[in-house]
Point group: C2
Chain length 325, copies 2
């Protein structure tokens, strides 16, 4: 098995929202993409998505050789897999479906081709038994929507995934500018969705109880702690929150209040009534703005923030490799 083989051609299995976004990203990174999906009009929808994503990808910086013309589409799975260097699977979230699919992929692909699943809901340990010959090359490579804009990729192995597969998947995603996270245990929601769920639980509680409106809880998040989470993670911010004493001082000062707050956090139940209350409050916040207008607002700032972050990361890297005189 040659593990030094460069990854140049990606096969995308399943071109729904996530698969199409992956395709756009891989093309922007100068890779060849072969996509397959049995749905009617899948090719048209995929090509339209890639074209619509291209201006944002261009703004973030296309790699040498990047071209939409490197996208091929076929409804024939075997044809799609021929000469694949890496497979990104985005099929329906059903264990039986994925197991059967992994059986086919495993039979048709050379053993050194990694099969990465975008699954957010099914642990790899439940999927990979389908890949009878080479379950060790199957791994979760879970993006954060939309993958062509948000850099995070969570890498999680199943019981039979090899350390080599995890390492190579990590290197591949990193080589195309993704920010990878190694998740050491299979947990529902991996990491990022768990963080979202933890936050949303308190948000829904506060709005459902009438403590704040949806508009106000959004202001509190996005003009408060969210601004900092767009810049750095919780642990590093805690380190800086401790002042000159760093993380040690942070815990001395805040583990008391933090523990007290935890005891009072809410546990809402999403009954139809609670959902309606949240929905009504969101509509009051949205007013007459259309979804397209709000998306444009979000993506304009998001692209700007990605540019800022990328520039800052490069500058920090340059500093850290400066020769010490």
């Amino acid at each position: 098995m040659s593990n030094d083989k460069p990854i140049r051609r990606i096969t995308i299995v399943g071109t729904g929202v996530i698969g199409a976004s992956w395709a756009a990203l891989f093309l922007a990174k100068g890779l060849e993409v072969v996509a397959t999906d049995p749905a009617p009009n899948a090719e048209t929808r995929l090509r339209e998505f890639v074209a619509s994503a291209w201006p944002a990808l261009t703004r973030l910086g296309l790699s040498s050789g990047a071209s939409q013309s490197k996208l091929k589409f076929t409804t024939d799975l075997a044809e799609a897999l021929a000469s694949a260097d890496f497979v990104q699977e985005n099929g329906p979230e059903r264990v039986d479906f994925k197991q059967k699919l992994y059986g086919q992929l495993d039979e048709q692909l050379p053993p050194d081709v990694i099969i990465a699943s975008s699954s957010s809901g099914i642990p790899m340990s439940q999927i990979q038994p389908g890949a009878r010959a080479h379950p060790e090359r199957c791994v979760i490579g879970h993006p954060f929507n939309p993958p062509h804009l948000i850099p995070l990729v969570e890498i999680v192995g199943g019981a039979k995934t090899s350390a080599e597969t995890i390492k190579r998947a990590d290197e591949f995603y990193t080589s195309i500018g993704r920010k990878t996270v190694r998740v050491n245990k299979e947990l529902p929601g991996h990491v990022a969705n768990r963080l979202q769920a933890a936050l949303a639980r308190e948000v829904y509680y506060l709005v459902a109880e009438g403590v704040v409106s949806a508009a106000d809880v959004d202001t509190a998040l996005s003009w408060g702690p969210g601004l900092r989470w767009g810049v750095m993670g919780n642990m590093m911010l805690n380190h800086l929150g401790g002042g000159p004493g760093g993380i040690e001082h942070f815990f001395q000062q805040f583990s008391g209040p933090m523990t007290a707050w935890w005891k009072t956090l809410g546990s809402p139940v999403l009954t139809p009534d609670v959902q309606q209350k949240l929905i009504d409050s969101v509509h009051a916040e949205v007013g007459s703005r259309t979804i397209a207008e709000l998306e444009a607002e979000r993506d304009e700032v998001l692209l700007g923030l990605l540019e800022l972050r990328t520039k800052a990361a490069k500058s920090a890297q340059t500093k850290s490799v400066e020769p010490v005189a």
Copy 2:
């Protein structure tokens, strides 16, 4: 009582980390500031802080008439309160101390002067009984650290706070570019600290259990959901996460998985062992980088993000008031 009196002169009571940052902000907005604090060297430390904050405030845009020379300092409380239009109190977080202080403030200030407390830990209902004559003008105006950079201000009344005080405090903070949130019930941590606590609980759990390192959980947050929270709040993002079907479709699709994730979220206990594990993982993430270097990294991106957000908010506002042809 004249409630139309413009607020031009702010008295800052307590010039620790929060009070000094408020002082810098008010000065940058062109207001006059009189500060008081009994601590030794308080004036020197305050003036040094304001000078160090000035370049960032200049980059974000000084208001007409903004000047560090409009800062006066006195250790005499009565002198500090003379001709105050608004008081921002940042004293020690002790009920007995604050009650006594509010008694003095209440006696020495005309009844139309609002007394706003930066308290994160003590509800106004417990503080305002000290202000016997006019408890209705006392209100929580809780900033998010550091106030001169982060725009959020949470406004919470106590049992005796008047609706007029809440309205005037809101208008004042809004007039100097703050993003205000009306919190309708007194809860520990108001809103933003509760959201932080909810997120941190899961972060600590995942690191303490060895699911991810501090570095990786920070990557997951700051290159994943955090990027979006730096742009928009949870409820609006849910609305967009539902696609063309908006928030209604979002709940149809995600209330199931969300509820399932909630059931598996962690409840860590911050024992000395757990704290040590978190501290060790943070140090592995930090490496040789100093706190000053990391702060500079954080603030550079934070200032850029604030510029982006402010520009986007202005552009959205301009669009919404455009005459319909």
